[in-house]
């Protein structure tokens, strides 16, 4: 076996695996079971989980991400601190050696940039190391599974896109139901959001059974009879009118009695089957939504009839057409001298039947959509997405939902990066003042240059340059903040987009890239803070006088 054949076999294997995992599974198997990847709603500010959480501040998922990173660090510090009590022996243990290697590498790297100032300046090394380690933790946390994906399900907000929803595997949990690949979601508007909230948030009703309009009418009449039996007002033991929960309990109790009385009476067995075992709320909801459901059921019935008609018409048309074609061919072969008139008629007929078929096909498509929507609306009054029978069997909810993740990367929120940038630039000014005293501010407001104007008229330029330094300092804040935010946020968007396109294997590449970007950006933030600090500490005021002496 030559190297080429072996290579071909390996290549074939790779190709096979690639087709299975990047083609068949994400585009056929996963959508088939409702597991295709949804495109998340991408928002720049952190998404609010709990409004008005603490002192009027909303709890956003980026805050949760930040707190998580902090907790992790505190935990690590606590454990290491406890372990480090034994780190006094001459030959270091493995953990100690590892920690020392990490700290030393970082220290040496920073020292290469800052020189002796790293050691002599108080708190400089702790500051930059903290920035680096915190950002590194936060950026790596962002890549953990479940972050930016697991969250609270809610109706898609108006103006965003949503998907079908289905119950999850455990009790009070849900997941999105995406049954076609590369489906970017369905646009939600305000009326639809309200309809969705009525079902999901306010729990105004449980999904109803699929029924015909007659059945609905019959049953709602039965429920109306039962509810009419209830007394007008409910009074407590002391004769006062009941309110709230007490009223509801009393009503429910009265309903039970009325229902029993009703069932004991002489009623239609089909009605009994449905009415039996219902409670007050169900009966109430049934009557409330009966009208809307009757209308939907009528649409459903009408559309189904029309669809059946179209199907037969289309079949008939296909039959005719097929026959004609054979006939034409037969004529053409047996009778080569077919008159041109005949041919023209045939062509005209064909065009005619094509147009009819197209029109019927278009109508069939709209009808199918109508039927799906009507079916959904019989089960869920006011449903906004069509339901196929298969989806109905799977208990798919035909409203538009999406997920707000519980945790999102800390640095994907501009608030954190901006705050961190402000802190580091303020500390840079502090270091500058500590090293140079009030003379530090000559960098911005160059008073000595103004004083030396008689000797060096060009000092005026220095003064203007100093003013520009102020802008540069603000620019540094913006630049630090946007660099970190931009890289991390864009990374998150890239991950979402690539996972949406090809669910398996391909995102691994982006994950690798994200690990590198997360590390480099954390390092860059720390390094820039260090470099700016060192620059601020350097003497600059009387450089020119020295220069003048030298030359």
């Amino acid at each position: 076996m030559t190297a080429r054949t072996r290579g071909l076999i390996v290549f074939g294997g790779i190709l096979f695996v690639a087709i299975i995992f990047c083609g068949v599974i994400p585009f056929v198997v996963m959508p088939g079971s409702g597991f295709a990847v949804a495109l998340p709603v991408i928002t720049v500010p952190g998404e609010i989980i709990t409004p008005d959480f603490f002192l009027g501040v909303d709890l956003t998922n980026t805050i949760v991400g930040t707190v998580f990173a902090d907790l992790l660090l505190v935990l690590a510090i606590f454990l290491l601190w406890r372990a480090s009590k034994g780190w006094t022996q001459e030959i270091p243990g493995r953990l100690q050696a590892l920690m020392e290697i990490i700290a030393e590498t970082l220290y040496n790297f920073f020292q290469g940039l800052a020189g002796d100032r790293l050691r002599t300046t108080p708190m400089l090394w702790p500051l930059v190391a903290t920035i680096f380690i915190f950002l590194l933790t936060a950026n790596m946390l962002k890549l953990l599974p479940g972050v930016e994906t697991v969250g609270s399900m809610h109706c898609a907000y108006a103006g965003t896109n949503g998907y079908y929803m289905i119950d999850g595997w455990t009790g009070n949990s849900y997941r999105l139901w995406v049954d076609e690949p590369l489906n970017a979601g369905f646009a939600q508007n305000e009326a639809e959001e309200e309809a969705c909230n009525l079902y999901f948030k306010e729990k105004a009703y449980e999904p109803f059974a699929i029924q015909t309009s007659d059945e609905i009418q019959q049953q709602s009449a039965a429920f109306a009879v039962i509810l009419n039996e209830l007394p007008e007002t409910f009074t407590g033991e002391n004769g006062e009118a009941l309110e709230g929960d007490a009223l509801h309990d009393a009503e429910a109790e009265a309903y039970e009695a009325a229902l029993e009385a009703y069932l004991a009476g002489d009623t239609d067995p089909t009605v009994v089957e449905v009415v039996e075992g219902t409670d007050f709320d169900e009966a109430h909801a049934y009557i409330e939504f009966a009208d809307a459901r009757i209308a939907s059921a009528e649409t459903f019935a009408a559309s189904t009839t029309r669809l059946a008609e179209i199907e037969t018409e289309l079949e008939a048309l296909d039959g005719d057409h097929g026959g004609e074609e054979e006939a034409t061919e037969g004529e053409a072969t047996t009778d080569g001298e077919a008159t041109s008139d005949e041919a023209v008629v045939l062509v005209a007929e064909e065009v005619d039947s094509d147009a009819v078929r197209e029109a019927l096909g278009a109508e069939r498509e709209t009808l199918e959509e109508q039927i799906g929507l009507a079916r959904a609306q019989v089960a869920f009054p006011g449903a906004t997405l069509p339901l196929s029978e298969e989806q109905l069997d799977n208990d798919v909810v035909p409203f538009k939902f999406h997920i707000t993740p519980f945790v999102r990367g800390a640095a994907t929120d501009l608030s954190l990066t901006f705050a961190l940038a402000v802190i580091s630039m303020v500390l840079v000014q502090v270091y500058g003042v500590m090293a140079l005293g009030p003379a530090y501010f000559d960098k911005f407001l160059n008073i000595p240059a103004l004083g030396n104007l008689s000797k060096k008229p060009l000092g005026a330029i220095d003064f203007v340059v100093g003013l520009l330094e102020i802008i540069a300092e603000i620019g540094k804040v913006v630049s630090l903040a946007f660099r970190l935010f931009g890289n991390l946020f864009a990374g998150g968007v890239a991950l979402m987009a690539v996972t949406f396109l090809v669910a398996l294997f391909v995102p691994i590449v982006i994950y690798g890239l994200e690990v590198i970007i997360g590390t480099v950006q954390a390092l860059v933030f720390a390094v820039l803070t260090l470099v700016f600090s060192v620059q601020a500490m350097e003497h600059h005021g009387d450089d020119h006088e020295h220069d003048a002496e030298h030359h």
Partner: protein, 79 residues
């Protein structure tokens, strides 16, 4: 046949145009890397220092591309 609102299209065009800002930094990073490579070629012993400084300078240059990226992200997701 075009469907959907014209706003979305204009936003997309705007976001795309904003990314033209990546043009300059691209050239800049290329020049930086070229300079660093030449320097390492002439003085291989100084490779460590040159690399560290090169990365720092690249990050400064890249910041401008990131501004463009942020602007286009803001156009798409915030406006």
């Amino acid at each position: 046949m075009i469907d959907g609102s014209i706003e979305v299209g204009l936003k997309a065009i705007g976001a795309g145009l904003a990314m033209v800002g990546a043009f300059g930094p691209g050239i800049g990073i290329g020049l930086l890397a070229q300079g660093a490579m030449q320097a390492i070629g002439r003085n291989p012993d100084a490779a460590g220092t040159i690399q560290a400084n090169m990365i720092l300078a690249i990050v400064f240059t890249e910041a401008i591309a990131i501004y463009a990226l942020v602007v286009s992200l803001l156009i798409v997701f915030v406006l």
